[in-house]
């Protein structure tokens, strides 16, 4: 009995010492996972996930502090990619963080804009140009559709307009065989 306790204690001490030494000796800084998660996120920097930007959200996911279904702009596709990357189950978008919307861009009603520059300060990607007391405008190509410029506007002159499909961005639809009545279309 005593020999058993001694052997187990000896084993525990040896292994514990080895592991403890290794954890100090082979310490690694930084987490490459954050970069990988960040690469999957849509970079709207909208903060709908509850974190101040995509990188903080990526960090939180990597640490296990946030779930993968908190990013409405990424949508279902984004959740699928995150699940694949992290080996987790795909789950529906968390409703408290918002709903998936069609890709939109902010448009400033140039007749109403008073030139307060508040939206310029809010835009995370510097997609709004203008100066104090001058009309502002959104560079559509750069707008990520994060909607962060909407709340600060004192005159509510910014609207989100869905981006229309053009010949260049048009996509072929998934081929679907249409069920047709067998004998003519008369019926």
């Amino acid at each position: 009995m005593i020999s058993a306790i001694l052997v187990m204690a000896l084993g525990a001490i040896v292994l514990g010492a080895a592991l403890g030494y290794a954890s100090i000796r082979f310490k690694v800084e930084g987490d490459p996972l954050v970069e990988k998660i960040d690469a999957v996120l849509p970079q709207t920097q909208c903060g709908q996930c509850g974190f101040p930007g995509c990188k903080p959200y990526a960090t939180a996911i990597a640490k296990g502090e946030a779930d993968i279904n908190q990013c409405p702009p990424g949508g279902e596709e984004g959740i699928r990619k995150l699940a694949e990357l992290l080996g987790r189950e795909v789950k529906p978008l968390s409703e408290e963080h918002g709903v998936e919307k069609p890709k939109s861009a902010a448009v400033i009603d140039e007749n109403l804009c008073i030139g307060c520059t508040l939206c310029i300060q809010a835009c995370p990607v510097d997609a709004i140009v203008g100066a104090a007391k001058q009309m502002h405008t959104v560079v559509e190509r750069l707008c990520t559709g994060c909607e962060l410029c909407l709340p600060p506007c004192p005159v509510n002159c910014i609207a989100m307009v869905p981006i229309a499909e053009s010949v260049d961005t048009w996509k072929w639809r998934y081929p679907v065989f249409r069920m047709m009545p067998k004998e003519g279309k008369a019926a």
């Binding site: 960040d38 849509p42 970079q43 995370p124 990607v125 010949v167 961005t169 081929p175 065989f177």
Partner: protein, 554 residues
């Protein structure tokens, strides 16, 4: 001389349907009421519009300037007035609009001033710019700007120039008719390309089901003499898709261009015969590309080839061939690779080699799609040596990464696989779907990366501004402190003269006081006066003590 020809793998032999549309010569079509000329007619950037509504344009006048190098200019197809520059439905399966210049013809067909280009004496770069500004693009259907192809690979010298007159797709006969009726133009164009590229030999590949075109081209080669040196007309076996660039290169030279390489790496370049003709027109006459030969065929009474101005509505082009009443759709291109048009009013563009009128009888609706049984027929038929069943499997499951691993982008969408599929699977539709999804993802990825970069730059800028502000504040605070200190020093220096002034004033007042004798003591007794004097003396003494600096106090 007989050339040794090679074979490409796969391919099919569909019914050609070519004989009906070659009975009559190339026809002309009356001017339509309006021409709708889309600005975006080639691969690459959308040209910038150069005209405004109400402006008068001449035939051949540039109305859209090339945007960047990967783009080609667009010209007015006839003289007239610009009615509008607006969004119109494009000749594209999406049915979406694109920016078009709408011209109302004045019927005068007044050409803008044109003059031949002395291309022989110009540097290559300038000739390329001229071709770009003449709007020359590949007329085989891919509409790739030709000026980008008129330059060699950096490493390999040009050996072979191939002119593609194979025209393998059923129904289409526009290149055939052009080679029959205008062989000299095609040959002169080929000669220009030969000289520009400094190619050692020019091979004009024509499928052997076009004996008239071959004969006519051969006769023209003999007629042209030295101009047509090193040019050979090579009949090739009729098999779809012998007209695919990589397939034709394989047949004529035996070179198989591998995945991820270009034919120029092997000293071979390939142009469509129509493109050669257009280059000849542009350089020898200075005429930009404003029309092309289009086959109008399918479910029509009198199929024929017409020379059609770009911007002509397809309905207007179909009218003289008399579409049969059961026609239900219009296809741009052939039955294998063509695209269904959203409506018959879309304009003829540079990519339109054929307007095919369809009907349920001619092109019956597809049979129900059955499961893939992995029979491998598609792999046998694939001229690009791909595995279509694998591409189908992954495209259908939306596993696009895997589809790309199986070289989805080497697929030329020729439709051979779908043609032979015993399960009637519309394979090409799946490939097109997968390709456009992959492009979309790449765009989104690029946008996300750009957004991240801009966001990080903004964060860095905000941080820098904060630091700059802090530094500025610190500098200002230091400045204020220094100023205060200086002021304090200044006041300290100013204090002395003030004190002196006050002291002087006091002194004067005291002196005055001292001079004024109190006059209520005249009538006093001498004893009283002595007492007063004594008191006065004592006062004076006290005053003196009070006025002497403290350290001298006793």
């Amino acid at each position: 001389m007989l050339r040794a020809l090679f074979k490409f793998n796969g391919g099919v032999k569909p019914q050609t349907h070519k004989l009906d549309s070659v009975r009559e010569s190339i026809g002309q079509i009356p001017l339509p009421a309006e021409l709708v000329i889309p600005l975006h007619q080639s691969i690459g950037g959308t040209p910038r519009p150069l005209v405004k509504a109400g402006e008068k344009v001449f035939k051949g006048q540039m109305i859209g300037a090339a945007d960047g190098n990967v783009s080609a200019a667009v010209h007015a197809s006839t003289s007239g007035t610009v009615k509008a520059v607006e969004m119109r439905t494009m000749a594209h399966s999406s049915g979406l609009g694109t920016l078009c210049v709408v011209i109302e013809p004045d019927g005068e067909e007044a050409w803008i001033e044109t003059r031949p280009v002395a291309w022989r004496s110009l540097p290559a770069g300038e000739v390329r710019d001229i071709l770009r500004d003449a709007g020359i693009v590949g007329l085989g259907g891919a509409v790739f700007p030709s000026h980008l192809k008129v330059q060699g690979s950096r490493s390999t010298k040009f050996k072979t120039l191939i002119i593609n007159g194979a025209e393998c797709e059923p129904f289409i006969t526009c290149d055939d008719m052009q080679m029959r009726e205008r062989p000299a133009g095609v040959l002169r164009g080929a000669a220009i390309l030969r000289d520009l590229l400094q190619a050692e030999e020019v091979l004009i590949g024509i499928e052997d089901n076009k004996p008239e075109a071959i004969a006519s081209m051969r006769a023209a080669v003999a007629n042209l003499g030295d101009t047509a040196r090193d040019i050979q007309i090579v009949p090739i076996p009729t098999r779809y898709p012998a007209g695919g660039a990589k397939q034709l290169i394989r047949v004529l030279t035996g070179i198989e261009v591998p995945h991820g390489r270009r034919s120029t790496d092997y000293g071979v370049q390939c142009f469509n015969s129509g493109t050669a003709y257009a280059i000849h027109e542009a350089l020898e006459f200075g005429r930009p590309l404003i029309s092309r030969i289009v086959t109008v065929a399918g479910n029509v009474e009198a199929p024929r080839n017409y020379e059609i101005l770009f911007g002509t509505p397809m309905r207007h082009a179909i009218a003289p061939t008399r579409a049969k009443p059961d026609s239900d759709r219009v296809i741009m291109g052939g039955p294998m690779m063509g695209f269904a048009m959203p409506n018959p009013d879309v304009p003829v563009i540079k990519a339109t080699n054929c307007i095919l009128v369809g009907s349920p009888a001619l092109f019956p609706p597809p049979e129900p799609e059955m499961p893939c049984i992995r029979c491998g027929e598609c792999a046998k038929a694939c001229p690009a040596d791909l595995q279509p069943f694998e591409l189908y499997w992954f495209s259908r499951a939306k596993q696009f990464g895997k589809a790309q691993e199986y070289a989805l982008f080497d697929c030329i969408e020729c439709g051979c696989c779908a043609y032979v599929c015993p399960s009637h699977i519309p394979l090409v539709d799946y490939y097109r779907f997968a390709k456009s999804e992959i492009w979309d993802r790449e765009r989104e990825k690029a946008a996300a990366d750009a957004a991240r970069e801009r966001y990080e730059f903004r964060l860095a800028r905000e941080e820098r501004e904060k630091q700059e502000k802090a530094a500025k504040l610190a500098a200002k605070a230091a400045e204020t402190r220094a100023k205060l200190a200086a002021e304090a020093a200044a006041t300290a220096a100013e204090d002395d003269p003030k004190k002196a002034l006050i002291a002087a004033a006091l002194a004067r007042a005291q002196a005055q006081k001292a001079e004024i004798q109190p006059d209520n003591i005249e009538q006093l007794t001498p004893a009283q006066q002595a007492e007063v004097a004594e008191i006065e003396a004592r006062r004076a003494q006290i005053r003196e003590i009070a006025h002497t600096p403290p350290e001298n106090k006793p």
